[in-house]
Symmetry: C2
Subunit: 697 residues, 2 copies
């Protein structure tokens, strides 16, 4: 090999290159002196200002590039080349698609619905190919998938019965798995009363509909509705879905077996790890594109997207001394349970003042809790009277009713004879006001602004009763012992479910069951909530159960988290799983639990967001996604959600997002939706495998 | 919607489910008491034993599954379904491939060569689709790609000239980019002398070839070879590649401009981040499959794969007191530079003892350094004599020559008149022994076992001379000041390059230039080494320069790292970038730098591996990959590498790996190779874009 050294002359070198090189070399010499030899070449890893500046510069360049037709052309050409390069690089697939296509036809509509071609956003997608599932044996995969599908079907059943929400994408996959056709008209959604229009009187009592003359009677802790007294005597209730304890216990048993099943745990654990890593890669690849979308979105930023604060009961306790409070004095007396201090049933006061502040800060809404204890049936009419008398209504507030789990106290003071009576005190007035609004005008009006029920108390309190079909029913629960969490939840759900069906018949608004859950205590609380809650507050303990966490993901159950209050009570801030849950794609939102107790500024919700953004380095897109979740999970009416999120807010993926309102990048929406579809398709594949392996024989 | 609650009866439930649920519930009750309510449901995140046990169980199940024909069938069916599901989920590509295919034909052979279908391993591949490159503007992308390609072409040139190694995959892409056809016969590889066969005498002096009667003369610090005295007087050197300083400075200038170029920095930074994340995802998805491959590989584990320790000079200093050392006394005297203590030119003694230990531990090889100072031309013949007299040869050892950068000391003591004389003392004896081995039998023999040169000293020592075409050449470098790092490196490379070409003509072995580099000091050291070193030791500062780090990745430059010695000297162990480099795909290996000084056990290399495995939780596959790198980068002969790595060890990807010998999973090899191809294809796309955009008009 005769080789020579190919010579170059410095005079041939581009003058610019020469100058730059000399400058670099000269700088190296200087910098070596100044002990900072690296700054010229290194990336400012540890300096946030430098990073932000660099990001901002990049963004400006990208935005400028968007304007240029020439660049757009070149970009297009690069993408074209790229897709070709990729197909050349990918080794040939061992398994050819054609042979399976006939079998998979039921899947096609699902995918077509969720990923319409017009909605496809241009971003870098992370795809995994080459195996059915990582590190799981075929048997385990099949078993895990079947169990998970079963769990989802159980939740779907309870959601439909109670007018709770279930994500459309998941529902569509479940339909396909059962070879059924998903139909939009079968979708069940809650109904929230729209707020009065501008000139309408929010306290108008004159539109109450007439009396249906139905009769209601409690049996085994559940209120049954009869067309009349005769039917009641014949024990023939109206045709409404009444829950059945034995069925519930059967469903619960399946579930308990599932979460303790090793292979399912492993499967879920792996999928969750994958989801977290996939999001990391997605962000690395698309962070700038997401940011670009947001920057191109005029007049909208995190500050002016709508946020709903699902705040807790102790709302404003610390501030009532500053302002007129004699209006609330009576309520304070009224709401005092007996005499017991707890974070979860402190007194709701000073709403007017806080509402006024909210109306001033146009973009915030709240869902404060009012307590109903079930001591007496008068609590409801008194609360409604108070609400009207003191003009508590605000378009920025929707009310929740919290029921503290303190039967044991009332029973020990002999205020209640049995647990059933407590349930009756809580729910019978609502049934009566629904059947005969004319005679309960005030409560009927107040209920328009109530959107759901919460169940509250310290979850770490332990009960040694095991809830089963052998448990005494509420009518005969006369013990001074408090029933366990799961018992409380089942009977609340049961009555809300019947009530919702009755109200729906009359065209009245329905209620969501949104308990505090998973803040502490047993992980079985999260099992109960998975079956029968629309959404939950806290959910910290999902961290401990991969199966439950994955199911909460697949069912997209909203979780309102309050890291600041958790920080004070249960969990160090930085260990709070909010960021991890958000990354994996769980539907988390931020709330202030006991705002005055755990926050330093007047703007408690913004403080909660600000600290989360700082501690976890959340991007604007992250914050806006959380804010969007908070509106979606809230009890705001369809009309308001259309206004705040976009007219198609109930659709999954980019289709359901109006970036001009939410400031959430369409790329993020597409990523979330495609990722959910990918996870669901694993379950789908497992369900379809038998058919296909039969065919391939 | 008339809906009823669908009832189930407990007696219908599978007896097993019921029992399990009861057990779970009962356990919850018990566990609530024992304050351990979560253990049943949670994954043992923080307990390594639990994790390992779980992994072992899974592995056993997977291995069992492999045996079953039925399961294999189902697995196949799942994969088939999965590939179909994926294609349904992926939104339609905006850019259709057909229109570009004519242009891309030159690329096809590249890909076909590197990814032969027979070699494709079955694993889960991470693919990114949908854009040409993340968060980089078209302009920046094009500029960055062109600069990087230019840098690679420059390195390739210097590698070819000096018989250094350049990775085949990268070379193939570079060829395609220039529309040239890559030919195997153009590949340039170093030549190492195979060790003597079993019955051969390693000290046999009788095979020295005859005298060529060439004449050698130093000019400007570089030795020129002439056919005879007449040609020398005519100034007509033999047709060998002689380096040209001006050309080198031009190349260096391009390079310095490149590493300071903002967009290129950003591009490289992003690609490196991507590489790290991609590996993380790969491991998450394929860890079990890799482990399965290794478990199915009989009689091979990390312990018995070959490892080469590219150890440093101070080898055994602390132990010379324990053993016969009178044999070395003379050498100690001989090797004493003047009187100055430094880690990098401590004394090489006690090799026999250590070699014996190595031969006992069959799987370890070492490349210790012997110092040549360039004080006098006698150093070489003395070293060769010592080697033969004391029978230093061992089949487990290959020798490196280290040249300490201490011209300033010799000059200040007036031992040397100029830097050129030092170079002459180092290299002239080698040229003479190559031209006339008959008269230099001992040195000729010794050089068979020498495989390369190292340049050593404390890199943080600062020089204020800026190396350029205006720098005084070594003949007139008479100053007492030490030349800078880059000056040392260039003149060492220059003479090694000429020498290698001369030796290659005679069919003699060649030498690699393998300097210590990037341990401290200026980042420009790493620039010099990128141009002219075969591989380097340390490379810590690559951490600080994304451009250089990415280039070291693309050029797959071997980096021998010694975190334990760095830990003592320069960098806290856990902050050492070895793990990060390994994950990204840089060709790192582990070595012991000054083994007796920084290690606690007799088995210093195994200690180095053990600590790395513990601190960074490296898997067996990781460790074996590092060990494989260490053999590949070493000066072991072709024959030995075939024996230790497999007959095709010089090929990239799974083809080049014999798992039975290396214990590196084929999945890992395929991942590395496909990932490198993916990165190179980005550069390729940019180079091809102009042609294609011309076509698409």
């Amino acid at each position: 090999m005769p080789r020579q050294f190919p010579k170059l002359s410095i005079s041939d070198v581009d003058e610019q290159v020469r100058l730059l090189a000399e400058k670099v070399f000269a700088k190296v010499l200087r910098e070596e002196d100044s002990k900072d030899a690296l700054s010229l070449f290194s990336v400012p890893e540890d300096c946030p200002i430098g990073q932000n500046e660099a990001k901002e510069r990049e963004l400006q360049k990208e935005l400028a590039e968007q304007q240029s037709v020439e660049t757009a052309k070149r970009k297009k050409s690069f993408k074209m080349i790229r897709s070709q390069s990729l197909s050349l690089q990918m080794p040939a697939q061992e398994w050819k698609a054609p042979s399976v296509s006939p079998n998979l036809s039921p899947a096609t509509p699902v995918v077509a619905v969720t990923l319409q071609p017009v909605q496809v956003t241009d971003f870098q997608r992370v795809t995994i190919s080459g195996d059915y599932c990582a590190g799981v044996t075929v048997d385990d995969y099949e078993q895990a998938a079947k169990s998970l599908v079963k769990a989802l079907l159980i939740r779907e059943k309870y959601c439909r019965l109670a007018y709770h929400r279930f994500p459309r994408t998941t529902a569509q996959y479940l339909c396909s798995m059962q070879d059924e056709k998903w139909k939009i008209e079968d979708e069940v959604l809650p109904d929230f009363h729209p707020p009065p229009k501008d000139l309408e009187d929010p306290y108008n009592l004159n539109d109450a509909p007439g009396n249906l003359d139905y009769v209601v009677k409690m049996k085994g802790g559940i209120l049954f509705v009869y067309d009349n007294k005769e039917m009641m005597e014949l024990n023939e209730p109206r045709s409404l879905p009444y829950p059945d304890l034995e069925t519930y216990i059967v469903d619960l048993s399946h579930f308990l077996a599932l979460i303790a099943h090793g292979p399912t745990k492993t499967y879920c654990h792996r999928r969750l790890n994958f989801l977290e890593s996939k999001f990391g890669l997605h962000e690395m690849l698309n962070e700038m594109s997401e940011l670009k979308e947001l920057k191109s979105n005029p007049h909208r930023d995190f500050y002016n997207v709508r946020k709903v604060n699902s705040i807790d009961s102790a709302f404003c306790v610390n501030r009532f001394v500053q302002i007129t409070f004699n209006a609330f004095q009576k309520l304070v007396e009224l709401q005092k349970p007996v005499s017991r201090s707890s974070l979860h049933y402190a007194l709701p006061i000073n709403f007017v003042e806080v509402s006024r502040e909210l109306e001033e800060s146009k973009y915030q809404y709240t869902e404060p809790r009012l307590s109903i204890y079930g001591r007496s049936p008068d609590e409801w009419p008194n609360l409604a009277k108070w609400f009207i008398k003191h003009k508590i209504f605000s378009p920025h507030v929707r009310w929740m009713i919290q029921v503290p789990r303190i039967y044991d106290i009332f029973r020990s003071k002999n205020i209640l004879p049995c647990f059933g009576k407590m349930l009756e005190n809580i729910f019978l007035p609502l049934f009566e006001a629904t059947i005969n609004p004319l005679d309960h005008k005030e409560l009927n009006l107040f209920l328009k602004y109530v959107t759901g029920f919460d169940s509250v108390d310290d979850e770490s309190k332990h009960s040694d009763h095991m809830f089963s079909d052998k448990s005494p029913n509420p009518d005969i629960w006369t013990s001074e012992k408090n029933p366990p969490y799961s018992y409380y939840l089942y009977y609340m759900y049961a009555n809300i479910m019947v009530l919702n069906n009755l109200r729906k018949e009359r065209g009245m608004s329905t209620f969501l069951f949104r308990p505090h859950c998973g803040e502490a205590g047993s992980i079985t609380h999260l099992v109960s909530a998975f079956l029968i809650a629309d959404n939950i507050s806290h959910g910290l303990l999902l961290k401990k159960s991969p199966v439950l966490q994955y199911l909460y993901y697949l069912a997209q159950i909203p979780i309102a988290m309050s890291p600041l209050s958790n920080n004070s009570l249960f969990l160090e801030y930085s260990k709070n799983p909010l960021r991890e849950f958000l990354h994996k794609g769980l539907k988390v939102s931020l709330s202030t639990d006991d705002p005055m107790q755990f926050h330093y500024t007047k703007e408690a919700l913004m403080e909660e967001y600000a600290i989360a953004a700082q501690v976890w380095k959340l991007s604007t897109c992250d914050l806006c996604e959380i804010a969007r979740n908070s509106v979606q999970q809230s009890g705001l009416s369809d009309k308001e959600k259309q206004k705040f999120l976009g007219v198609n807010y109930w659709k999954d993926g980019p289709e359901g997002n109006d970036i001009r309102k939410t400031n959430v990048a369409q790329i993020r929406m597409a990523f979330r939706c495609e990722t959910l579809c990918n996870e669901l398709s694993f379950l789908f594949d497992a369900m379809k495998s038998e058919e296909i392996s039969a065919l391939s024989k």
